[in-house]
């Protein structure tokens, strides 16, 4: 139990800088989702199932999903802008 806690804490400590340092938002979505899962795992190991459940739904699914939608929206805006530029 003790060992598991240490391992998951170290995993959090390693992945957090990983998410920060993945500078491209597209790959950040992947790392963030992974990080969210590790956090959820940490909550389970620390006996917090309620929080783990909301972390899986929010941190590992909803938040990355919103970022994906944001990126999609932005890509479409940029494409549209380029098309308009070409037309001119």
């Amino acid at each position: 139990m003790r060992l598991l806690q240490c391992v998951v804490l170290l995993l959090v400590a390693i992945t957090a800088p990983g998410v920060v340092l993945s500078r491209d938002p597209k790959c950040q979505v992947v790392t963030l989702s992974f990080y969210g899962l590790i956090c959820a795992l940490m909550f389970f190991i620390f006996q917090a199932p309620d929080v783990a459940l909301s972390q899986i739904t929010i941190g590992a699914v909803m938040l990355p999903l919103m970022i994906l939608l944001t990126l999609t929206k932005m890509r479409r805006q940029n494409l549209r802008r380029e098309q308009e530029k070409k037309r001119r």
């Binding site: 459940l53 909301s54 699914v61 939608l69 494409l79 308009e84």
Partner: protein
């Protein structure tokens, strides 16, 4: 400031902050050795007083239910904010005709059937989680988020029309606003009997039953309704343009 100057400034700050944290955290109780009065007291009394076996939810929806009321309105306010930011402006309608950006994923039939089956399972799972807040881990919030992802699965399976039918239904809006307002109204109802705001006024039932714990269960479900509606509204405002284009394309 150039980005190098900024980083230098920040690193100086870190050179101060890191020892500061080390200095303060040294005096924390060692992990695993915690004996605060609040946690002890609440685990002793919550089951007897409120007939709820999940103490976390007893705190969330009753002892500190007023915090959760604020929290639900944080969600509500930020959804209002997103709606405000994404409100259609005059330029939008011009832009729609000018450029069509198609990015629909091709979905195979097997995948579609699989996803629709998954959606069904998720509805049941979400309802279960939302309804058993007072008994087992989970509760309105978690169940609501799961329920809100169901139409999204439908969307991903390529069925845009059904998705749009669900999210643009006035019932979704009613769920969002009714859930948020309903929470406050439940709190106010307690005052009819002369008690303070957010006091339990329902029979407590048998500990462990689905219909137990009085207002905790009711509030949990109310929160679930709000969260489901809220995230659907949120989703719709993000996907609005894409959906409009897709539906036009299908016609």
């Amino acid at each position: 400031m150039s980005s190098r100057q900024r980083t230098t400034l920040f690193l100086i700050a870190v050179a101060g902050l890191a020892p500061l944290f080390a200095w303060g955290f040294r005096n924390l109780p060692p992990m695993g050795d915690y004996r605060g009065p609040y946690g002890y007291a609440v685990t002793q009394v919550a089951v007897y007083e409120r007939h709820a076996t999940d103490v976390v939810n007893a705190i969330n929806y009753d002892y500190r239910g007023f915090d959760t009321l604020g929290e639900e309105f944080i969600l509500f306010a930020s959804i209002l904010g997103v709606l405000l930011l994404f409100r259609p402006s005059g330029d939008d309608h011009k832009g729609k005709k000018q450029a069509q950006v198609e990015d629909a994923l091709p979905v195979s039939d097997t995948l579609r059937v699989g996803m629709q089956a998954m959606a069904g399972t998720m509805v049941i799972f979400g309802l279960y989680i939302a309804a058993h807040g007072q008994l087992t881990p989970g509760g309105g919030f978690q169940g609501g988020v799961i329920l809100a992802t169901v139409p999204l699965v439908v969307y991903l399976s390529g069925d845009v029309k059904t998705f749009e039918a669900i999210v643009s239904n006035p019932l979704t809006k009613l769920a969002e606003c009714g859930g948020a307002g309903g929470y406050a109204i439940i709190g106010a109802l307690a005052m009819l009997g002369g008690a303070h705001f957010l006091t339990n006024f329902l029979p407590l039932g048998q500990t462990g039953d689905l219909f137990s714990s009085g207002t905790i269960a009711v509030i949990s479900v109310t929160v679930g309704v709000e969260v489901t509606g809220g995230f659907l509204v949120l989703m719709r405002s993000y996907l609005r343009e894409i959906i409009e284009e897709r539906l036009q394309g299908e016609e």
